[in-house]
């Protein structure tokens, strides 16, 4: 019996995850042997090289199927997210060394926490059991709580971390309670068992199963910052060191959406009529509220924080279509959104006047940037146009796929609301472009520009990818379609 258990584990299928843990442990050892107070560059290089090996092992070692007795499922969906999440983490790590030195949080734990967060996120994308989803969410969140509060000397960082932590642990309770109720109804926490149960009952569910589904939905809505569960995100995003804000608004969000997709498409697929109605309202609220709040911001960092709420709303529009086209549009958008958002945040770091100052990210600092630093202004313009969804950037195709998928599935009203919201968002994105290109230079607001080679490299990579996927989106869409196909 025991031999059977071991052969059902298929430990080797989780090779990339094991490698992430090995990299984290190696990074700890490197940190131990480095004398205290020295540069964290060795830890950074260890982490990045290790993660490159992780990507290589994901791409070149093919070993799909369930592992750990069906607790996790390795399929093309998992592999897609493994690669995307690891790439986003590498970009963030690559630009971090100079930045954490600038804001005086140069400690090795910064990289270690990112690695542990990455491990949790990878676990979430492959989890085939609600308890593993829970484990992944917690591994990711605990690391993120610490990362948000990393700027200990800054009050807003502490405030953001505490708010995120309190609300996050509260949501965890919702999630666990949801799992408990579903277990009470189904008798298992495995997603496939839940599917079988829902196939038997159809929409005629006992109230306990509905309550469980609803609580799980609320927990995911919190983790992906959907209105009305978004209250933590602007403060956490503003308080966090900006590299972490860029990270949080992309990779953990993508991971949460991955687990969200797998649970709701595979597990709760039979009762999709129920949860798509809930998500319809959530999508409308998320897009609209995020937009209205972003309109009023004068701080670039806060504007991007609120606009990331709006983008989560677009993703929900794609998700609630509940078919291959919508799912593929969602994966496509998650990838390009990751690159354009990280790019925009990195430019914001470059122009940040003073991290400790609340007005360090003021939009007035961008006045006449095109005459001062034409390259930076041009790159920022690419990201702003992409976020607004204007061709020829990838942002246009991302939104096009999402809204056409919504129309094809009969959600015409929702698509109209989405396009209107997208039009509203053009105002605050173009406002940045106008400030950079059409306003006079103002000597008073001009601060230093923090533009190091690693930063320039990362921003240019993001910009090139955003343009490339805008001109040739077919390839990525094909990969996304194949990946989402694994859920059917």
């Amino acid at each position: 019996m025991f031999e059977q258990l071991i052969s059902d584990m298929h430990v080797s299928r989780m090779l990339p995850e094991i490698l992430v843990l090995v990299v984290a442990l190696a990074a700890i050892l490197v940190d131990i042997v480095t004398p205290a107070g020295r540069s964290t560059r060795p830890v950074q290089i260890t982490s990045i090289v290790g993660l490159l090996v992780v990507i290589a092992s994901t791409l070149f070692v093919h070993n799909n199927g369930p592992a750990f007795g069906g607790m996790v499922e390795i399929d093309s969906f998992t592999i897609f997210f493994r690669v995307v999440l690891t790439m986003l983490t590498i970009i963030i790590m690559a630009v971090s060394e100079n930045y954490i030195q600038l804001v005086k949080i140069r400690i090795a734990e910064y990289y270690l926490m990112l690695l542990f967060a990455l491990f949790g996120m990878m676990l979430m994308t492959m989890a085939n059991d609600l308890l593993i989803v829970f484990l992944g969410i917690e591994t990711m969140s605990v690391s993120l709580y610490a990362l948000v509060g990393m700027s200990r000397h800054r009050e807003s960082s502490n405030e953001g971390a505490l708010k995120y932590f309190l609300l996050g642990s509260f949501t965890t309770a919702f999630f666990v309670y949801g799992i408990a109720l579903l277990y009470g109804a189904v008798g298992s926490t495995n997603i496939l068992d839940i599917t079988v149960y829902f196939q038997r009952t159809g929409m005629n569910l006992p109230i306990i199963a509905w309550a469980g589904t609803l609580l799980v939905l609320v927990a995911f809505a919190f983790k992906t910052a959907l209105v009305p569960f978004h209250w933590w995100s602007p403060d956490a995003y503003e308080g966090a060191p900006t590299t972490i804000t860029a990270f949080m608004s992309t990779a953990p969000k993508a991971a949460a959406f991955a687990a969200f997709l797998r649970i709701f498409y595979v597990g709760f697929g039979e009762v999709s009529d129920g949860w798509t109605t809930a998500l319809w309202w959530i999508a409308v609220l998320t897009m609209t509220v995020g937009n209205l709040m972003a309109l009023r911001q004068d701080s670039i960092k806060r504007m991007l924080a609120f606009s990331s709420i709006t983008h989560a709303g677009y993703l929900v529009v794609a998700m609630l279509t509940y078919d291959v086209i919508g799912g593929a549009a969602m994966l496509f958008y998650l990838v390009i959104y990751g690159f354009m958002n990280i790019g925009a945040f990195l430019v914001a770091i470059a122009l940040n006047r003073n991290e400790d100052d609340d007005r360090g990210y003021d939009i007035n600092d961008y006045k006449g940037l095109a005459f001062r630093k034409p390259l930076i202004a041009f790159l920022m313009m690419i990201f702003m146009l992409a976020l607004a969804g204007i061709p020829p950037t990838a942002g246009f195709f991302g939104k096009y796929y999402i809204f056409s998928a919504a129309v094809k599935s009969g959600f015409i009203g929702l698509a109209v609301i989405g396009v209107l919201n997208s039009a509203v968002s053009v105002y605050y994105y173009l406002r940045v472009v106008v400030t950079m290109y059409l306003k006079e230079r103002d000597e008073k607001t001009e601060g230093r520009i923090f533009w190091k080679p690693d930063m320039a490299f990362a921003v240019i990579v993001c910009a090139v990818l955003v343009m490339y996927f805008g001109i040739a989106p077919d390839q990525l869409l094909k990969v996304a379609t194949a990946s989402i196909g694994a859920l059917w």
Binding site: F2, L25, D31
Partner: protein, 119 residues
């Protein structure tokens, strides 16, 4: 209406509750009563039990607490492992080895960061 599978849980509740009540009652009736201020404290631990909750105490207590929990749990995992050592074979040995290596790296980390120094 109660599902039959949960009857053992109910019985456990009754046994646990009964045991607690009987113990309380027995000690109350049988025990000698000699009072002193320390003895009347809620917890006889030497720390004033009614104090301002916002008082500050050393972070070291927290660290020691965390370290205790980690190594306490390590032993909890090792007991069932040791009992089944023969049946688990090489796989079990390797699994525990990996677990111990991870914990040891954690211990090295704490040591290097000074979490083990009281003064």
């Amino acid at each position: 209406m109660l599902p039959r599978d949960f009857i053992p849980v109910l019985i456990t509740f009754l046994v646990v509750g009964g045991f607690a009540w009987i113990t309380l009652l027995a000690t109350h009736l049988l025990g000698p009563k000699r009072y002193s201020p320390e003895k009347m404290d809620t917890y006889e631990c030497g720390v004033d039990y009614r104090d301002d909750a916002r008082s500050r105490f050393s972070i070291k207590f927290y660290l020691v607490g965390v370290l205790f929990v980690i190594f306490d749990l390590e032993v909890v995992f090792m007991y069932p492992w040791a009992v089944n050592f023969r049946e688990l074979g090489l796989f079990g040995f390797a699994s525990m080895g990996v677990f111990l290596v991870i914990l040891t790296i954690g211990l090295l980390y704490e040591w290097k960061k000074g979490a083990l120094e009281w003064e």
